[in-house]
Symmetry: C2
Subunit: 476 residues, 2 copies
Amino acid sequence: MAEKQFVKEVADINENFAQWYTDVVLKTELVDYGPVKGTMVIRPYGYAIWENIQKDMDARFKATGSQNAYFPLLIPMSFFTKEAEHVEGFAPEVAVVTHAGGAKLEEPLAIRPTSETVIGTMYSKWIQSYRDLPVIMNQWCNVMRWEKTTRPFLRTSEFLWQEGHTVHATEEEAMEETIKMLNVYRDFMEETLAMPVFCGRKTEKEKFAGAVATFGLEAMMLDGKSLQSGTSHYLGQNFSKAFDIKFLDKDGVQKYGYTTSWGTSTRMIGAVIMSHGDQRGLVLPPKVAPIQVIIVPIAVHKGGVIEKAKELETALLSAGIRAQTDTRDMSPGWKFNEWEMKGVPVRIEIGPRDIENNQVMIMRRDTLEKQALSIDGLANALTELLDTVQKDMLVKARARRDAKIVEADSLEGILAGVEGKNFVKAGWCGCRECEDKVKETAQATARVMCDEEGVPEKCAICGKPAKHKVIFARAY
Amino acid sequence: MAEKQFVKEVADINENFAQWYTDVVLKTELVDYGPVKGTMVIRPYGYAIWENIQKDMDARFKATGSQNAYFPLLIPMSFFTKEAEHVEGFAPEVAVVTHAGGAKLEEPLAIRPTSETVIGTMYSKWIQSYRDLPVIMNQWCNVMRWEKTTRPFLRTSEFLWQEGHTVHATEEEAMEETIKMLNVYRDFMEETLAMPVFCGRKTEKEKFAGAVATFGLEAMMLDGKSLQSGTSHYLGQNFSKAFDIKFLDKDGVQKYGYTTSWGTSTRMIGAVIMSHGDQRGLVLPPKVAPIQVIIVPIAVHKGGVIEKAKELETALLSAGIRAQTDTRDMSPGWKFNEWEMKGVPVRIEIGPRDIENNQVMIMRRDTLEKQALSIDGLANALTELLDTVQKDMLVKARARRDAKIVEADSLEGILAGVEGKNFVKAGWCGCRECEDKVKETAQATARVMCDEEGVPEKCAICGKPAKHKVIFARAY
């Protein structure tokens, strides 16, 4: 009876993936709905994942020479109008402050949906000479985009993210930075989130409002849909001209800089959930798991069991493993379910018999395999095991994804492909009409271009000569 | 000539402290003014201080069992009205979102000036049983309070901070948490910011809007004024009743929880500047200095000098010292000025003669003392030196402060005391009229009460029996 109330059931992952997702994120206490429609509260278990993501990414950014800074939340509405495409893209989503300090403001202020405009304004003031370049800054902050349909982590009116903003003296350097950060993101997503991604240029239709070129990272979720997990934009001189970011070059000539921006967000937490989860709940990669090893004592009332469990916990913590002992007065079976749902990578069971035999039982969350391990050298063995789990999760995710990529040479083929929950590679003539037709017919969009794989002869939609090879997919 | 343009003069620290502050924060590139009046941009050198503060504090919070989370930026205006004192205190400062997504909102939304109301709403949902208590969460975020007069770090419409929010089953536990966090703050400020603080309870007039009791940390700036550097609030059941935070206790009775909240902000950066600076600029405590050791090669064009400097830098970095080599093609004198203004705790000078003698010249920023150190074992010697600087800075700040504390037993005495740039300790009857009189006459406020030192017989203002001993000071 008492047990019953703790059973937290989730929807069938194959039959109703959307409901499975909602059930899992709420029941594992990653997140909750905020009081204002479309907002989320990131609860401690979810925020700890974000902290692990931040720490890892931040070190990668700093290794490229990037420095963190903080720019204001509120941006004068007039700033948005300075870059024509940018305002068109973001104005409909902006939240506007009209009153403050008990009075109406002279000019309404936008809550940043992204910070190109305010950062561009500051860069214009700070940058004078080629000696000031490159400028490579990043900020970790909240942004707001008013959305009609929202889902925790995936699309919320407010979310947390990082946005990098750089200025360079030449087009070449700026493009190099754009691709460098795209690769930093890819390495992070593969190595830390165990999530394979397709990196490539976006079509004109799908690019960032105001960019010359946008490069995206697309990951395949368990339902075959794509989730854009990060973007890196080459902005050319669009923003430097709009915000007057000029420098005196070595040759004595005033020139406009070339800018880039790149961003990833708490959306990545949704990506991790939908890349690795299963019917039991979350499966977290060790590198971002808040708890890497959960120790469940069996027969907690027997003398010495909790003491031995705590002793192991201390040894694991000293070895840099995020370990925790579940000493609550509940049945082991209940605890197993709970920690499996919470996606803890490794479970240790330790009971009186195990202690006698100087061993523990281990279960890997990713494979559900159990094995006995000696207590001697346990920390080392687990460090290795966590490393193995991390790598195996990427291999598994990649194999799953690669088995769901098909090629198509007709609109019907694209439709059949996405209906079968695949990513579909196809030739494309490059025209907007064909792209729109795919959207109408198959509810799929061009995720990224992958011309480097070799462009097919014909456009799969209109049959004219193809200019690009595109990955089409339904997307979040 | 080329040198001249780099000379960055600052106002006289004794004659015009306010201008000195503004000059220093702008010229060292800690901060800049944002485009919207009253906002600031925290530049990389300033933000790096904040990152060091965050990392240190965050570890201290987590050691007390606190977990980080993230709550929404926007709060329905109606939430504020639920706690009467709270709305009275914060409504005049709130920035309000009235439009979003291209339409007028049904209910206006406040940008959080503090998050008791939205967090209370979520706690009410999450907390059911005594088993769920205590709840101890913290968030690092931005907040907004529309201010008329602003100064970078000290008072800006938007600032960064952390706010802890806890719920407990009993009054006693909640009060214990309030004092525990006050002490965590004090230890941090003394050990990490090298800044002595007076901790004590605030008067009714000065307490947080909605609190039963507020405890503050007050630091004396170089001009004798007080800067409130953090606060810890015991909220009793005020917010739990307003937001229905109830739990089923062990005895089967539904009870309201007891809550606390505690916060510190980017204001602390201002406190560090005004606690330790001098005519040359910043003097940063090693624990928060973005660069702890700056290596300035002398005669950069001589073979081997830069190489040797870089070699030292690598050795220091490996020892965990934040070291950097200034390889720019500028005169050493110019560099000395620049890094002194930027407050780098230790400077290393290394030239051809030093290399021959297997030594370097060291200068301590806090004392301006120079000494020669052997290159052998330099990393160890500098680790020790940085530790010494850190400790000496606290000793010096404490001695300076303690010399500027006077006692008074009359209103004239209080006035004379604060005119002399002192903190003034005096007896107080506890009535608002006397407190207001001090404000009118001496432009000073009650900073904290220090009854534990022994309450004087009479109120210095009205002569009636004193109930408290108070520290009066002019304040930021």
